[in-house]
């Protein structure tokens, strides 16, 4: 026989909240901001991981000079950082000629074009490189490189620089935006433009290994040899087999053979080499990033906590002003738990409004900034419904709001018992 039902308590709390619009709105905003922040952090974390994991697929081994496996993964696949050492062409040949090797893609790095990295490779790259879930590279126009001075651009390079097919371009020595010595005596021609992949491939200029050799024939130790200049045409007639490359990717005939090949390459006698399984190296990368992840999460939890604290402050500040209101409610027959329920309901309503606001903010931001992030960071953020994990976070937040509401509720409960019907001023 409980006459005062939940509906009328909610009705009372809504009216009471509306009566304090400004303070309530601020509390809602604080919670909304914290919700959108925590969602953003989660989203970036998940999508960055997915994007990293999607960059390389179907490659069994990555091989480079001996260094850290994460470093090797970063420079060979993600174009982040630099190799400390190159590996010799002869070592590459002898490993790629192994019986268990199905395909190999040599990679030669070290030059750039207006901020984009230049990668020397072979036409096998276009045939065997896979990203996402086994997707092949596709050309948007043109053909893979044919001539020594042909280049194939990643989608973003072409879009950013506004390059069309057959356009001429100059490769710079070193990595960075300008200010470097240029290989301007040997211009390249845009032979093909790749379709967008959402991976670092989009930000890469691909040329043949011969092209890499060609622009360096009259160079030594990273600088042009004074007085020596060989023209582009003369170069074509030279032997352009590279002496060294940076790294290479291997596809094996049988996945099961990966461990055996890995062991043998790591014990390669003629040169210290390092082979890694992409999955294992990725995992190591996650482990490295987990501290940052934890820190990011901790920050968002603190921000959410701050949001709840703001609400609690608001509820507690006018607790005293509301003593009379509670006394009136008690006088007309409200039970102490109705009085307490009023506060908890207010806390829950504020939090729900904050969550709704936060979700709106988050999705609005997602739609707004998705293209920008993809443009600038090459990170494709997908617009998806909240995950179970996200919903759990919201559930925790609601539980937190109940706890925050219980504090003033218990105080009001006690007060309404000790005040009696009439509050003394």
């Amino acid at each position: 026989m409980k006459y005062m039902n939940v509906g009328s308590i909610i009705h009372l709390s809504i009216l009471s909240l509306l009566n304090r619009r400004l303070a309530v709105l601020l509390s809602i905003c604080a919670i909304a901001v914290s919700v959108s922040l925590i969602f953003t952090v989660e989203k970036l974390r998940q999508d960055a991981k997915r994007s990293f994991a999607d960059t390389i697929s179907d490659t069994d081994l990555i091989v480079g000079a001996r260094s850290g496996s994460v470093q090797l993964l970063l420079y060979s696949v993600f174009r982040i950082g630099n190799a400390t050492n190159n590996i010799s062409w002869r070592s590459y040949r002898s490993i790629s000629d192994r019986d268990d090797v199905l395909w190999s893609i040599p990679i030669s790095l070290g030059d750039s074009h207006r901020g984009f990295r230049v990668m020397g490779t072979t036409r096998d790259y276009f045939e065997y490189y896979r990203f996402g879930r086994g997707k092949m590279l596709e050309l948007d126009g043109g053909k893979p490189f044919d001539d020594v001075f042909d280049a194939v651009l990643g989608a973003e390079v072409a879009a950013d620089l506004g390059y069309k097919l057959d356009q001429r371009m100059i490769i710079a020595h070193g990595i960075g935006k300008g200010g470097f010595t240029k290989h301007d005596d040997k211009p390249f021609r845009v032979a093909g433009i790749l379709k967008r992949t959402g991976t670092p491939v989009d930000r890469t200029v691909h040329i043949s290994l011969a092209g890499i050799t060609a622009i360096h024939v009259d160079w030594k130790a990273g600088a042009p040899i004074p007085g020596m200049s060989i023209s582009a045409d003369a170069v074509r007639k030279m032997d352009l087999t590279p002496r060294s490359i940076t790294a290479f990717l291997l596809g094996l005939k049988s996945r099961l053979g990966a461990f055996k090949a890995l062991r043998e390459i790591n014990n390669f006698s003629k040169e210290p080499l390092l082979a890694v399984l992409p999955g294992v190296a990725l995992q190591e990368l996650w482990d490295l990033m987990s501290t940052a992840e934890t820190a990011l999460r901790a920050i968002s939890i603190v921000v959410v906590f701050g949001g709840l604290l703001g609400m609690l402050t608001m509820l507690l500040t006018n607790l005293n002003e509301r003593r009379r209101e509670m006394a009136i409610l008690r006088a007309v027959g409200a039970r102490p738990h109705h009085v307490a329920g009023l506060f908890v309901t207010e806390a829950i309503l504020i939090t729900i409004a904050g969550i709704v606001g936060g979700l709106c903010l988050f999705y609005a931001g997602l739609f707004l900034f998705q293209p920008v992030i993809e443009d600038i960071y090459g990170l494709f953020i997908s617009v998806t419904a909240p995950t179970v994990n996200d919903l759990m976070i919201l559930l925790y937040l609601l539980a937190g709001s109940v706890v925050a509401g219980l504090i003033p509720a218990v105080m009001a409960y006690r007060q309404s018992l000790s005040d009696g019907i009439i509050v003394r001023n």
Partner: protein
């Protein structure tokens, strides 16, 4: 209607005894004027009669129910059903409209809700009838929060609230403090009309002894309260 038997009350186990009343009765339908110096315990008695607090010893019965024996929940419900209370000041929930303030007791008591609906046709029409009776015709239609009303208007809204749904016992604690003499007389006249019509019992706590002559009985708390 009210029967107090040998009660003793203090607010706190260390506080002094505020009330010590061996015996005291009020008959059904009586209009009682209760006076006493400030701090003598009039408001405390109101708390006891409405079942907000319990005495250390003794019993209080209201309307035939020994409320000191009821559970906390039952006492809260008893108050909701049978007692209308009006305070000295600040009687209204600030964020509710005057009309919603008047109908508030009905959301805690089905008995008073049904009674109110029976008396006036519907809850809202009974509430506006009472407001009109209190000469607040214009206020009945206001949809804005109650805090915009004058103090005198607020007190009349509160009177209407204590009357809605015809509870058997009405207790008003210094309701006329903000009213001038004329308004005060008018207020009492209207209050009496409603109280008599519904055969309610009225306890009217006040310092204003000039009003005492209108009542059936005049009681001084100091006479019935035996504290040393």
């Amino acid at each position: 209607m009210i029967e107090i038997c040998d009660i003793r009350f203090r607010w706190d186990s260390e506080a002094p005894v505020v009330l010590n009343i061996p015996s005291f009765q009020i008959l059904a339908g009586e209009l009682v004027f209760l006076e006493g110096p400030s701090g003598s315990g009039k408001t405390t008695l109101l708390n006891l009669l409405s079942g907000m607090v319990l005495p250390e010893q003794g019993s209080v019965s209201v309307n035939g129910e020994i409320i000191t024996r009821l559970t906390d929940g039952a006492r809260d419900r008893f108050r909701a059903d049978h007692i209308g209370v009006m305070f000295q000041m600040f009687n209204l929930i600030p964020y509710l409209s005057p009309l919603a303030n008047v109908t508030l007791p009905c959301s805690f008591s089905s008995r008073r809700s049904t009674m109110a609906a029976k008396n006036g046709g519907s809850l809202a029409s009974e509430a506006s009838r009472l407001l009109t009776r209190m000469q607040l015709d214009d206020v009945a239609t206001i949809n804005s929060p109650a805090y915009q009303l004058s103090i005198g208007q607020q007190q009349r809204v509160a009177a209407a609230r204590s009357l809605i749904g015809s509870p058997e016992l009405i207790i008003v604690d210094e309701p006329t403090s903000a009213l001038d003499n004329e308004a005060c007389q008018m207020f009492i006249k209207l209050l009496f009309e409603e109280v008599k019509k519904a055969e309610m019992t009225l306890i009217f706590i006040s310092h204003d002894t000039r009003l005492a002559e209108y009542f059936d009985r005049r009681i001084s708390l100091v006479d019935i309260n035996q504290i040393a």
